[in-house]
C-alpha cells in the first residue's frame, strides 16, 4: 500500500512537470495527466482493498519529522480511502470525458484540475485545522480556475460570485480556526476533540467553533447561501459540475463530519436543521426548473442537505452513521456525476431535449439507474441507507424529521421521474446524441459502479442487519437477467419469461399457505397467461421484458416476504417495474408520473409504518405487526393501510389509475389492472391478518375503511358510467371493484375476507379478459372512443363473447362467478356489526350495469360504421388468452370450491365463526345456501329448451341488412346518426352527475400547482447578483446564529 502522501506528491509533481513541457505538446500533457490521475486513484484503491479484504488498520502519516500537534498529520482509514477513491475516480473519469477541451486548453487546465483533486483529497486526509483551511483555499482557487477556463461565457460571472462567497467563507473559517486554537491550544483535530471537554463549554471556544462550522457548512451549499453554487452547476462544463457535485461535496461533507466530531453532540441539531431546510428548499425550488443542469444542481444541494441531516443524527445513528451516510453519498456522487456527464451528450439545455437519448437504450438505462439511485430505490445503496435511517428515526421517535425527509424525497422523485418521462416520451430533437467513446465510457463506468455498490451495500446490510441481499434473490436476478438478453427477439424473451414464471411457481408452490397460494397463482400463473398476449408483439420490444419481469419479481417477492424489509423492497420493486410498463404507452407520460408519485407516496407511508412498528428493531417479521405496542399500533395501521390503498386506488387516492391503465399498451393493461392491483389487496390482507381491528381516538379504523371502500365502489362505478373511452371505463370499473374487495376485507369477518378473495380471483380473470378484448378492438379500429365503434359483433365474435361473459360475470348475474361474490357478500354483511355503509354499496351494485351495458352496446351492438366494415378479429395471440379466461371463468363459476375451500378453512385461524360448509356442490352459510352447479344446469336447460323452441317456430327467419329498421317514420342511412352511443346516460348525468365532480383531481392538482408556484416564487431569491449572494450568506450566518443560540 502506497503512502497517501503520494496523492499530494503525484499531483504536484505532475503539475510542475506539465509546466516544463512544451505547451504545444498537449497530447503528451494529457497522457501525463491521465496517468497521474490513474495513479492517484490507484493509491486509495489499494488502501480500500487493504481495509476491506485484508483487515488493515488505519494509519497516521506524520510530516515534518514531528508528532502532532506540533506537525501536520494525515490519516488514512476506511472512510478516507473510500472518499479519496471516489474523488480521484471521478476526477479520472472527468478528465477522460474532458479530453477535447483539456487538450485545447493545454497544460494549464490539466494542472489546475490535478491541483483541485489534490486539494479535495487533502481536505479528506488532513487532521489539522489550518491545513484544512489551506486545502479549502486551494480547492476554491483551483475550482475558480477551472471555471475560468470553461467555454460558457456565463461561467465567468458564476466563478466570480463563487469567489466573492469563498472570500467571506475563508474569513470566517480563518478567524474561527485561530480563535479555536487560542481557546484549545491546538490545531490538531484529534487533540482538540479530546481537549473539548474543558473548553467545550467555554463561550469563546463555542463562538470560534461556530465560525468554523458555519464556514465549512457553507461549502455544502446550504439554503439560502447557495445561489453561487447553482450558477456554477448551470454554467460550468458538465465534467466540472460532475467534479463539483461528486468530489468537492464529498470532501466538504467529510470536513464537516470531522469538525462535528470535535464539536460534539451539542452541534448536531444545528447540522440537522440546516440539512433538512436545505433538503426541502432545494427540492421545492427544483420543481419548476426547466434547465437540466440547474435542476441537477438543486438536486445536488438537496442530497447533500440530506447527508448533513444524517451527520446531524449521529447521536441516534451511532455506529450505523457511516453505512447510511456513505450509502446516500455514493448514490448521490455516482448518479450525479453520471447525470452531468450525460448532460454533456445532450445538445439542448431544456429537460425535454433529453429525448435525444432515446435512440440509445444503454444511455436510457444509465439515466434510469441514476434516477433510481437518487430516489433511493432498490437495489441501490441509497435504498438500504434510507431504510436504515427511517428505521432508527422512527424507533427513536424523531417523527417530524422523518416526515420532512419523506416529503422532500417525494418532491425529488417527482421532478426526477417527470424528467425521465420527458426523456422517453417527448419528441426527440433532430440532432441525435453522438457521444464519443471517451464521453460515453465514464457514464457506463458510473452505471456499473452504481450496480456494484448496490450489491456491496446489500452485503453490508446482510452482515450488519441480517437483511437479504436483494440482488441475490432469484426473482430479481431473473428479472435483471432480461437486461442482458434484451437483444433477443421478443418471442424468445416471452417464452423465457413464461417458462421462468411457471417454473418458479412449481418449484415453490408447496411453500405458501392457502391464502398466499392464491396470490402466487395469480401473480405467476396468471401473469404467464397474460404474457401469452405479448406474443403478438413483433421485433425486439426493447425494455419491455426487464420492466415486466421486475414487476412480477416484485410481486413474487412480496408474497414470499417474511420481514418488513423484504416486504418493502418487494413493494418498491414492483412499483418501479409497473411504472416502466405503464410509461410504455403512447400517451401515458403524465399518467405514469402520477402513478409513480402516488405509489412512492404510498410506499413512504408503508416505510414509515413499518419503521414505527419495529420501534428500532433491525429485524421485524411481518407477523410481529400483531404485537406492536398499543400506543403506536393504530398509527401503524393507518400508515400501512393508506399506503396499500394508494395501490388499490381507494377514492381520493385513485386519480392516477384511469389514465395509467387506459393509456398502457394492450397487453400491459391486463397486467397492471388484473394482476398488479392485487398487490395492494395482498398488503391489506397481510395487515389485517396481523393487526385486526384498531381504534384511534375511539374510532374503529376498519369502520372507516368500510366507508372509504363503499364510496370507492360507488364513485368508481359512477365515474365509469360517464366514460366515452372504453379502456378508461374499464379502469374506473377497477376502482369500483377494488372498493368491493376492500369492503369485504374491512367487514372483518370470515365471509367478508372470503368475498374479498373471490373478488381478487374474479377481478383478475374478467378484467384481464376485458382489457384484452377492448385492447384488441382498439388495435383493430384505431380508437378507444366507444361511440366511434358499433356493430362489431359480426366482425369480432370472439372478442364479443369475451366481453359478454365478462360483463355477465362482473354484474354478478347468475350463473357466472360474479354471483358467488355477491352471494358471499350478502352473507358477510349479515354477520357484520355495521349497516349504514351497506346503503352506499347497494347503490353501487346496479350502477355497474350501466357501464357494462354501455361497453358492450357501444362497441359490439348498434350500428356498424362504414370505415370499420373491413375490421378483422383481434390477433390470435390476443384472442387466445381471452378464450382461456372464458374457460377459467366458467370453471370458477361451477366449482368455486377448487380455489376457495382451502382458504375458507385457513381463515378459521382468524375467524373461527361463520365459515362456509361445502357439501358436494352445495355451499351453505349460516344464513343461506347456494349450489352453483344446480344453478348452471337449471339455467342452461331452460335456456336451451327455449332456444330450441324459438329455432323451431322461427326457422324461416331471414337475416336483414343493417338499416332494415324504421324509426320516426324514416329509414336511417347513416350509422353515425343512428348509433345511439355518445353520452349514453345523459339523463343519469342530469340526476347524479353532481356526485362525480372531480374533487380529488382538483385537490391534487391544486396541491402540485401550489408547490410549483411556491417553488417558482421562492427561487426568485436567487436574483443572479453576486452581492445578493454575499448577503444571503451573511443572513444565513445571522439566522443560524440566532436560532442556534
Amino acid at each position: 500500500m502506497l503512502s497517501p502522501l503520494y496523492l499530494v506528491a503525484a499531483a504536484l509533481a505532475a503539475s510542475f512537470t506539465l509546466g516544463l513541457l512544451n505547451p504545444k505538446r498537449s497530447g503528451a500533457a494529457y497522457a501525463i495527466t491521465l496517468v497521474t490521475l490513474a495513479f492517484m486513484a490507484w493509491v486509495p484503491a489499494g488502501w480500500l482493498w487493504g481495509f476491506m479484504a485484508e483487515g488493515a488498520q488505519p494509519v497516521e502519516i506524520y510530516t515534518a519529522g514531528a508528532l502532532p500537534p506540533y506537525a501536520i498529520n494525515l490519516r488514512m482509514g476506511l472512510a478516507e480511502a473510500a472518499m479519496t477513491l471516489l474523488i480521484t475516480l471521478t476526477g479520472l473519469l472527468s478528465a477522460l470525458y474532458l479530453k477535447e477541451s483539456l487538450i485545447k486548453l493545454g497544460h494549464r487546465g490539466m494542472a489546475v484540475l490535478m491541483v483541485a483533486l489534490m486539494a479535495f483529497c487533502g481536505i479528506v486526509l488532513t487532521r489539522d485545522l489550518f491545513n484544512l483551511f489551506v486545502f479549502f483555499e486551494l480547492a476554491a482557487i483551483s475550482t475558480a480556475g477551472l471555471i475560468l477556463l470553461s467555454e460558457d461565457e456565463r461561467a465567468l460571472s458564476a466563478g466570480f460570485k463563487y469567489l466573492i462567497v469563498s472570500q467571506l467563507v475563508s474569513t470566517f473559517l480563518l478567524i474561527g480556526i485561530l480563535f479555536a486554537y487560542h481557546a484549545s491550544g491546538t490545531l490538531n483535530l484529534d487533540t482538540m476533540a479530546s481537549a473539548r471537554l474543558p473548553h467545550g463549554s467555554a463561550p469563546s471556544f463555542a463562538l470560534a467553533f461556530f465560525l468554523m462550522f458555519i464556514a465549512l457548512v457553507t461549502e455544502l451549499k446550504p439554503f439560502p447561501a447557495n445561489g453561487w453554487a447553482l450558477d456554477i452547476y448551470e454554467s460550468a462544463h458538465p465534467a466540472y459540475s460532475a467534479l463539483f457535485s461528486a468530489a468537492a461535496a464529498t470532501a466538504s461533507l467529510y470536513a464537516v463530519d470531522k469538525l462535528l466530531l470535535v464539536g460534539g453532540p451539542g452541534w448536531y441539531p444545528m447540522a440537522t436543521g440546516i440539512g433538512i431546510t436545505t433538503f426541502l428548499a432545494a427540492n421545492l425550488f427544483a420543481l419548476p426548473q426547466g434547465n437540466d443542469r440547474r435542476l441537477l444542481g438543486y438536486s445536488s444541494l438537496a442530497q447533500i442537505g440530506l447527508i448533513l441531516v444524517v451527520l446531524g443524527q449521529r447521536d441516534l445513528l451511532g455506529e450505523g452513521t457511516p453505512f447510511i451516510a456513505f450509502g446516500l453519498l455514493v448514490s448521490h456522487a455516482v448518479a450525479k456525476a453520471g447525470l452531468y456527464w450525460l448532460s454533456g451528450l445532450v445538445g439542448g439545455r431544456s429537460l425535454t431535449d433529453w429525448a435525444a437519448l432515446r435512440g440509445r437504450p444503454l444511455l436510457v438505462f444509465a439515466f434510469i439507474s441514476f434516477v433510481a439511485m437518487l430516489t433511493s430505490l432498490p437495489p441501490f445503496p441509497g435504498f438500504y441507507a434510507k431504510w436504515e435511517l427511517v428505521r432508527v428515526l422512527a424507533g427513536e421517535g424523531r417523527l417530524a424529521l422523518l416526515a420532512l425527509i419523506l416529503i422532500g424525497a417525494l418532491v425529488e422523485a417527482g421532478y426526477l421521474f417527470r424528467w425521465f418521462g420527458y426523456m422517453l416520451k417527448r419528441e426527440a430533437p433532430a440532432e441525435a446524441v453522438n457521444g464519443e467513446p471517451h464521453q460515453v465510457v465514464p457514464v457506463y463506468v458510473a452505471v456499473l459502479a452504481g450496480w456494484v455498490l448496490g450489491y456491496f451495500w446489500g452485503e453490508l446490510s446482510g452482515v450488519g442487519l441480517g437483511h437479504h441481499n436483494l440482488l441475490l434473490s432469484l426473482p430479481l436476478a431473473f428479472a435483471l437477467g432480461f437486461l442482458l438478453l434484451d437483444w433477443l427477439p421478443a418471442w424468445v424473451k416471452n417464452t423465457l419469461a413464461i417458462t421462468g414464471m411457471v417454473a418458479f411457481f412449481f418449484l415453490t408452490y408447496a411453500e405458501y399457505d392457502p391464502l398466499r397460494l392464491i396470490f402466487a397463482l395469480i401473480f405467476l400463473i396468471g401473469g404467464a397467461i397474460t404474457l401469452l398476449a405479448s406474443y403478438d408483439a413483433h421485433g425486439r420490444r426493447i425494455g419491455f421484458y426487464p420492466a415486466a419481469m421486475l414487476m412480477y419479481a416484485g410481486m413474487v417477492m412480496l408474497v414470499r416476504a417474511n420481514d418488513s424489509f423484504e416486504f418493502f423492497a418487494a413493494w418498491e420493486l414492483l412499483t418501479l417495474g409497473s411504472y416502466f410498463l405503464i410509461l410504455r404507452g403512447k400517451h401515458s407520460e403524465p399518467h405514469a408520473l402520477s402513478y409513480i408519485l402516488f405509489s412512492l407516496g404510498g410506499a413512504f407511508l408503508i416505510l414509515a409504518g413499518f419503521a414505527l412498528a419495529a420501534g428500532g428493531a433491525a429485524q421485524f417479521p411481518i407477523t410481529a405487526l400483531g404485537q406492536v405496542a398499543p400506543a403506536v399500533a393504530p398509527w401503524v395501521f393507518l400508515l400501512l393501510a393508506t399506503g396499500f390503498m394508494t395501490k388499490t386506488a381507494a377514492i381520493g387516492l385513485h386519480i392516477w389509475l384511469p389514465g395509467a391503465h387506459a393509456e398502457a399498451e394492450t397487453d400491459v393493461s391486463p397486467m397492471v389492472s388484473g394482476i398488479l392491483l392485487k398487490a395492494g389487496l395482498f398488503g391489506l390482507f397481510v395487515l389485517l391478518m396481523a393487526m385486526g381491528k384498531q381504534r384511534l381516538y375511539g374510532v374503529e379504523l376498519t369502520h372507516v375503511l368500510l366507508w372509504v371502500a363503499a364510496f370507492t365502489a360507488l364513485l368508481g362505478n359512477l365515474m365509469a358510467v360517464f366514460q366515452e373511452d372504453a379502456k378508461r371505463l374499464l379502469a374506473y370499473s377497477s376502482i369500483g371493484q377494488m372498493g368491493y374487495a376492500l369492503f369485504g376485507l374491512a367487514l372483518m369477518n370470515h365471509l367478508g375476507w372470503l368475498m374479498a378473495l373471490m373478488f381478487v380471483i374474479n377481478h383478475y380473470i374478467y378484467k384481464s379478459m376485458l382489457f384484452l378484448s377492448v385492447g384488441g378492438v382498439a388495435k383493430r379500429t384505431g380508437t378507444r372512443e366507444m361511440y366511434r365503434m358499433g356493430g362489431l359483433i359480426r366482425l369480432m365474435p370472439l372478442s364479443f363473447i369475451a366481453v359478454l361473459i365478462g360483463i355477465i360475470a362482473i354484474s354478478g348475474v347468475p350463473p357466472l362467478s360474479g354471483f358467488g361474490g355477491r352471494w358471499i357478500f350478502y352473507n358477510a354483511i349479515l354477520a357484520s356489526d355495521y349497516r349504514l355503509p351497506m346503503v352506499i354499496l347497494f347503490l353501487a351494485g346496479p350502477v355497474a350495469f350501466l357501464y357494462l351495458f354501455r361497453l358492450i352496446h357501444s362497441i359490439f351492438l348498434g350500428q356498424l360504421k362504414d370505415e370499420l366494415r373491413r375490421v378483422k378479429e383481434a390477433p390470435f395471440w390476443i384472442a387466445l388468452p381471452q378464450m382461456l379466461y372464458v374457460g377459467l371463468l366458467l370453471a370458477f363459476a361451477l366449482a368455486p370450491g377448487l380455489a376457495l375451500r382451502r382458504v375458507d378453512t385457513y381463515l378459521n385461524l382468524f375467524f373461527p365463526e361463520g365459515g362456509l360448509h361445502w357439501e358436494g356442490f352445495e355451499i351453505t352459510s349460516d344464513y343461506g345456501y347456494w349450489n352453483p352447479v344446480a344453478i348452471m344446469i337449471v339455467v342452461a336447460v331452460i335456456f336451451v329448451s327455449l332456444f330450441a323452441w324459438l329455432l323451431f317456430v322461427n326457422r324461416r327467419a331471414q337475416k336483414v341488412k343493417q338499416f332494415n329498421i324504421v324509426f320516426s317514420a324514416e329509414r336511417p342511412f347513416r350509422p353515425e346518426t343512428t348509433h345511439f352511443a355518445w353520452n349514453f346516460f345523459a339523463p343519469y348525468r342530469k340526476a347524479l352527475g353532481f356526485l362525480v365532480q372531480p374533487y380529488a383531481t382538483t385537490f391534487w392538482g391544486a396541491l402540485t400547482d401550489f408547490l410549483h408556484t411556491a417553488g417558482d416564487l421562492a427561487r426568485r431569491l436567487y436574483d443572479g447578483n453576486g452581492q445578493s449572494y454575499a448577503l444571503h450568506f451573511l443572513a444565513f450566518v445571522v439566522i443560524v446564529f440566532g436560532v442556534g443560540v
Binding site: 351494485g845 346496479p846 352496446h857 349460516d926 344464513y927 344446480a934 337475416k959 345511439f980
Partner: protein, 301 residues
C-alpha cells in the same frame, strides 16, 4: 346429493299454472285500467289470442345472433326466477327448484332476462331500443335500492336468506307478516315495486308515444310471442318474491291468486292516477322518498 327427477314435472306444473294465471291476470288488469278511463278494454282472453297470432306470423327477420337470443334470455329470466323461488309454502310439489339457491339467487336472477333482452334489443341497431335501455338501466339503479335495503332488513330480522324459512317465520296469523313486524322495510320495498312494474309514473322506459315501446321495438312474431309469455310470468314471479318476503307467503293456490292480484293492484292503482316521470325525476324521487325508508328499515330492525 340425490336429485329428485319428479321435480321437473312439478316445476312444469307450477309454470303451467302461473302462465295461465298471468295471462288472465294481466288482461284483467288491463281491463280495469281501461275502465278507469271509461273504456271497455280488452277481452279477458285477448292475451291468448295475441300469443297464438304472434306465434303464427310468418314474416320473420333477425338482426343477428344476439337479437335472436334476446327473447330467449328474457323468458329464461322469467321462468328461472319463478322456479328458483318456492311458490306455495309447505308444498313439496310447488317448492320448485329452490334447492339451487336462496333469496340472493332470486334477486340477482331478476337481472338475467333484463340484461339479455337489452343486449338483443341493442343489436337491432334501433336508436329507440338503445334509448329505452339507457333509461331503464338509469332508473333501475335507484329503484332497486330500497328493495335491496328491505331484503337486507328482512334477512337481518329473520336471520336467514332462505325464502322458505322467511315464510315459515311469518306463519301463525296476519300480525306475524313482515308487513306488520317490519313496516318500513315493506314500505320501501313496495315503492321499489312501483319502479319495477313498468307502469306510470315509472314507465318512461317504454314510453309508447315517444320511443315506441322502447327496447322491444324491433321484436315481432315469435320473438314477441316469447316476450309476451314472459310478460305473463315475470310480474307474477316477482310478486311471488314480495309475497313471500313481506306478506306471509301463500299456503294454497287460492290464497296465492288473491295475494298476487292484490299486490299487483297496488302498482295499478298508482299507475292510473299519476302521470309519467322523466328519468332524472324518478331517480330523485326514489332517492328522496324511498331511500330514507329503506335506511330506517335497516337501522331499526
Amino acid at each position: 346429493m340425490q336429485f329428485d327427477w319428479m321435480k321437473i314435472p312439478y316445476a312444469l306444473l307450477t309454470l303451467f299454472i302461473v302462465v295461465n294465471f298471468g295471462m288472465i291476470l294481466t288482461a284483467l288488469v288491463a281491463k280495469i285500467a281501461a275502465r278507469v278511463g271509461r273504456r271497455r278494454g280488452i277481452r279477458i282472453w285477448q292475451n291468448y289470442a295475441d300469443l297464438f297470432k304472434n306465434y303464427g306470423l310468418r314474416s320473420s327477420i333477425t338482426h343477428g345472433a344476439m337479437f335472436y337470443l334476446g327473447p330467449v334470455f328474457r323468458l329464461t329470466g322469467g321462468i328461472g326466477l319463478l322456479l328458483f323461488v318456492p311458490t306455495i309454502y309447505g308444498s313439496y310439489v310447488f317448492s320448485n327448484l329452490s334447492f339451487a339457491g336462496d333469496l340472493i339467487l332470486a334477486l340477482y336472477f331478476i337481472f338475467f332476462g333484463t340484461l339479455g333482452m337489452a343486449l338483443g334489443a341493442a343489436e337491432s341497431g334501433h336508436p329507440h331500443a338503445a334509448i329505452g335501455v339507457s333509461r331503464g338501466l338509469s332508473q333501475v339503479t335507484t329503484a332497486e335500492l330500497p328493495l335491496a335495503l328491505a331484503v337486507f332488513s328482512v334477512a337481518l330480522q329473520y336471520h336467514t336468506l332462505s325464502v322458505t324459512a322467511i315464510v315459515a317465520a311469518q306463519q301463525g296469523g296476519i300480525e306475524h307478516w313482515t308487513l306488520f313486524t317490519n313496516p318500513f322495510a315493506v314500505a320501501a320495498a313496495m315503492l321499489a315495486f312501483l319502479g319495477s312494474m313498468m307502469r306510470p309514473p315509472f314507465d318512461v322506459v317504454s314510453a309508447p308515444q315517444e320511443i315506441p315501446i322502447g327496447p322491444p321495438t324491433e321484436y315481432h312474431s315469435s320473438y314477441l310471442a316469447m316476450m309476451q309469455t314472459n310478460r305473463a310470468i315475470f310480474p307474477i314471479a316477482k310478486i311471488v318474491v314480495y309475497m313471500n318476503l313481506f306478506f306471509g307467503g301463500a299456503a294454497s293456490w287460492p290464497v296465492f291468486c288473491l295475494k298476487v292480484f292484490l299486490i299487483y293492484m297496488v302498482s295499478v292503482f298508482i299507475g292510473v292516477v299519476f302521470p309519467r316521470f322523466r328519468v332524472e325525476q324518478s331517480i330523485r324521487w326514489f332517492l328522496i322518498w324511498a331511500l330514507p325508508l329503506g335506511v330506517l328499515a335497516i337501522v331499526l330492525v
